[in-house]
């Protein structure tokens, strides 16, 4: 059994890390353990944030919250909902797709930079993160950033900690920006477009002054698995508008009129809209109870469908697209085909592919994260060493195979 440490305070966490540093042991940081990714590698103890919970400060009028890293996401969201506020970046809940349990934590959300469909208008998790307290690999408690929106005082360490997947430091407390929940939302559905047509339609929608806050394309193979099957027949290209009711109505008219030249147009009301975009966010069609390899691929918006078309010629894949086509949720039929996929990602202009799910032995044999160019990997390794000189924190982001 892997030892699990669950410090109950930041101080205790720091002491624990100091001791680990002395004994040269390794630590794998775990939040809610929902990712299944961070099964601790050989010889590492698990350092869990589960004992570090609680909202430390929430000031709705200033639209900021401070919470300890292990605070369950649902606790954060419940407090926000009470004040009609939200995490604008829509963190995904991949438990269904990954077949994992566990309780997502707010620290885990920032450590993975989990960001959903509203990425275009609200940024990623990293854009909402204002300040962090963390324990570095020397066991020092450090603070970075603050609690105000605009802050360029010194290096922006919060940015590099967001999305660091436990490779740099143990985040103990995060301060982040929240936003008001839009008064209403509507989805415009354009039916029957192939992938290339859909990408053109979405680019047109995003070029209009209507502030699309979600643009996804759901090919025929997955369409029925969204919104309880109510989407019209054929592939569905979906566009979300949010805001004040009066304004959404006007914008929806305008968008629907333009989209009619691409294909038949339908609308979803606010409730169905909420459900649909949650499912888009969470890779719902791939919550299929199978271990078939699941990838999350980020490329330029116009390149996503080219990537999938190229792969289709060589292997069995199923895919749908968020972020105007730039975020591809990709399920392989059998093998993860990491080498093939990564070769094509390079060929279509670059990006990155993360393997989220596969049989354990396949996971173990595959690079989870996109390998970096040598110079970037070397620089990343130096940045890691600046937080964690002894390499105490193990994480698949930079510890495994690459950067060495």
């Amino acid at each position: 059994m892997t030892p699990i440490h669950e410090p109950l305070s930041e101080e205790a966490a720091a002491r624990l890390v100091q001791v680990a540093a002395l004994s040269r042991s390794s630590l794998a940081i775990r939040g809610g353990g929902t990712r299944g990714l961070n099964a601790a590698p050989d010889g590492a103890d698990i350092l869990s944030t589960r004992g570090l919970t609680g909202i430390v400060a929430y000031n709705p009028a200033e639209m900021t919250m401070t919470a300890r890293a292990g605070t369950p996401l649902e606790v954060v969201e419940a407090a926000l909902t009470e004040n009609r506020q939200m995490l604008a970046f829509e963190p995904c809940d991949l438990r269904g797709a990954l077949g994992s349990s566990g309780i997502p934590t707010i620290g885990g959300v920032f450590a993975t930079n989990a960001s959903g469909p509203r990425r275009f208008v609200a940024g990623a998790a990293r854009d909402s993160l204002l300040g962090v307290r963390f324990v570095n690999g020397k066991g020092e408690v450090v603070k970075a950033g603050g609690r105000v929106m605009k802050n360029v005082t010194g290096l922006d360490l919060a940015k590099v900690l967001a999305g660091s997947h436990g490779s740099l430091a143990l985040m103990t407390e995060v301060t982040f920006r929240v936003l008001p929940v839009p008064e209403t939302a509507v989805t415009i559905v354009v039916s029957n477009l192939n992938d290339a047509e859909a990408v053109a339609a979405m680019a047109t929608a995003m070029s209009m002054s209507v502030e699309v806050s979600g643009a996804a394309h759901l090919p025929e193979s997955v369409r029925g698995r969204f919104a309880g099957g109510v989407l019209p027949d054929g592939a569905a290209t979906v566009l979300r508008l949010e805001g004040l009711a009066a304004s959404v109505a006007v914008r929806a008219e305008k968008l629907a009129a333009t989209m009619a030249s691409f294909g038949p147009v339908a609308r979803l009301d606010a409730d169905l809209t909420a459900r649909l975009w949650r499912e888009v966010r969470d890779a719902a069609p791939y919550a299929d109870g199978t271990p078939r390899p699941l990838w999350r691929v980020s490329v330029a918006p116009t390149a996503g469908h080219q990537l999938v078309a190229a792969l289709r010629l060589e292997t069995g894949v199923d895919a749908y697209y968020d972020w105007q086509g730039g975020l591809v949720w990709l399920r392989m039929e059998a093998d993860p085909e990491a080498a093939l996929l990564r070769r094509y990602v390079k060929a279509i202009g670059g990006g990155h592919a993360t393997l989220l799910r596969a049989r354990p032995e396949v996971m173990a044999a595959t690079e989870t994260f996109e390998p970096q160019a040598d110079a970037v990997a070397a620089l990343s390794a130096r940045v890691k060493a600046s937080f964690d000189p002894a390499g105490l924190y193990v994480s698949p982001l930079i510890d495994r195979k690459q950067g060495a």
Partner: protein
């Protein structure tokens, strides 16, 4: 009051000056190295004009490869390097020093690619901020971060400082609009960070470089996001009898969940200065003015304005004035954006840049007035109120050293007040040399040590812009 110090010039570098110049002349095409003392004068300072230092030489490369060659050379011989865009830094970020080679990006000012389908522009670092918006405007797009200096400042400098502007309340600052960069490291290695995708793999190094104040490497190209222009935009003027009322109104508007594109604040002295300069039609019989810009369709603007007017009413708003035409709207913004320049015509000034939590605005405005009065000086406040980013302009006479020292001391007191109110020293202008020695007021030693360790991961010898950001004493030995 002590002058802000610089690192002592490295004697070994000064002694080799002639050789270094000769070597750099070899590395660069003709016309790309400035080294005659007289010609170096334009590079001796930036917009923080109280401090001046002549550099050893100024390299003006035309390509990334040339930037890499110069950096590699400087790294090999231990020559400090100061990256420079347009030199509009207000914190002394681009001020050189006697043993430093300035690398200016002014010759790298081309827009390389505009990609509307992906809504990105890829540009060289020396392109001015406004050039990007101008290049895509006719097609219905803009680049969102809009520092008031946008006519002159470069995208490389914007990345260096993570610059903001009036419209950042809605669209975010530079870091939120930057997708990729070509970065040359101190040893001449060229790395590509990010790209056209909305997020990048690996550690977010781009997030560190943005706001790195030229200490992590030199950016030679950037890929930025373009945004479709709103259907319409309308600035509206709200006049109040007191600054406190205006400040409280801002906090309530945001607190009510209304986020306009911009909320700018001016107090009476700032109104007078800007009106005299721009004839923008600002009301003159109020103590404080808010410029609130809403955008979208007519229906959306009307709905949002109605809510804001209602809230302003609760705070005793005296004047509400909507712009009636595009010309009027442009004048309103011209007045605001020329505030610093217009102030510079009537007095010398230093511009503070602390950010405070919105609820603290009235308290900090009051405190600022008290501090400035205590030093017997005058202040004009004009700033980005929606995100709590304050810009008190402290007016003084630069020809009177005592007056200048008093202004600096007052500025430092104001920044301490911002930090103590839960804010920070700088919201968008950067630390530079100006706020360097106040860093310990905001950060503990261990916090600064961690930042310096990250900095050293990029530049182990501390050659890049070495006198900036981190207090000179207590640095790790290079």
């Amino acid at each position: 009051m002590d002058q802000i110090g610089f690192l002592e010039p490295r004697p070994a570098v000064i002694a080799r000056r002639r050789e270094i110049v000769a070597d750099l002349l070899d590395l660069l095409p003709p016309g790309c190295l400035v080294h005659e003392p007289r010609e170096l004068v334009p590079f001796e300072t930036d917009a923080f004009v109280s401090y001046r230092r002549l550099p050893l030489a100024v390299a003006l490369p035309e390509t990334t490869a040339q930037v890499a060659a110069v950096l590699k050379y400087c790294n090999r011989y231990g020559v400090p390097v100061v990256p420079r865009g347009a030199g509009t830094s207000l914190s002394g970020g681009a001020i050189p020093q006697e043993d430093a080679v300035v690398i200016g990006l002014s010759k790298m000012s081309r827009i390389l690619e505009v990609d509307y389908a992906n809504r990105t522009a890829t540009v060289q670092a020396g392109v001015t901020n406004l050039n990007i918006s101008d290049a895509v405007s006719a097609d219905g797009y803009f680049y969102a971060p809009d520092p008031s200096s946008q006519l002159a400042c470069t995208i490389g400098g914007n990345i260096g400082m993570n610059s903001g502007g009036a419209h950042c309340l809605k669209y975010g600052v530079t870091t939120n609009n930057l997708l990729g960069a070509k970065l040359v490291l101190i040893d001449g290695t060229i790395v590509d960070l990010g790209g056209k995708g909305l997020d990048a793999g690996g550690l977010d190094l781009l997030g560190l470089v943005c706001g790195g104040e030229g200490q992590l490497g030199i950016v030679t190209e950037a890929t930025v996001r373009l945004i479709a222009k709103p259907e319409g935009a309308r600035p509206v003027l709200f006049g109040f009898d007191t600054s406190e009322e205006a400040g409280a109104c801002v906090a309530d508007v945001i607190g009510a969940g209304i986020i306009p594109v911009a909320i700018e604040f001016m107090d009476k002295p700032a109104i007078e200065i800007c009106e005299a300069f721009a004839h923008a039609g600002y009301p003159m019989d109020v103590e404080a003015l808010l410029i609130v810009e809403v955008e979208g369709s007519e229906a959306e603007m009307d709905a949002m304005l109605a809510s804001i007017i209602e809230i302003a009413g609760r705070h005793g708003v005296k004047v509400v004035k909507e712009s009636q035409s595009a010309t009027e709207a442009a004048l309103i913004w011209k007045g605001r954006k020329s505030a610093f320049g217009a102030t510079g015509r009537i007095a010398d000034y230093i511009c503070m840049d602390g950010t405070v939590p919105l609820g603290q605005l009235p308290h900090v405005l009051r405190g600022t007035a008290e501090i400035v009065a205590k030093y017997g000086l005058r202040v004009a406040n004009v700033f980005h109120a929606g995100d709590g980013n304050m810009h008190p302009l402290i007016l003084f006479n630069a020809n009177d050293p005592e007056d200048a020292a008093r202004a600096e001391a007052a500025g430092n007191d104001i920044l301490r007040l911002c930090v103590d109110a839960g804010g920070c020293l700088t919201g968008e202008h950067g630390v530079g040399i100006e706020k360097r020695d106040l860093m310990r007021h905001q950060y503990a030693e261990v916090d600064l040590d961690q930042q310096m360790a990250v900095r050293a991961a990029f530049d182990a010898q501390w050659l890049l812009n070495p006198s900036k950001v981190f207090p000179l004493e207590g640095r790790p030995a290079a």
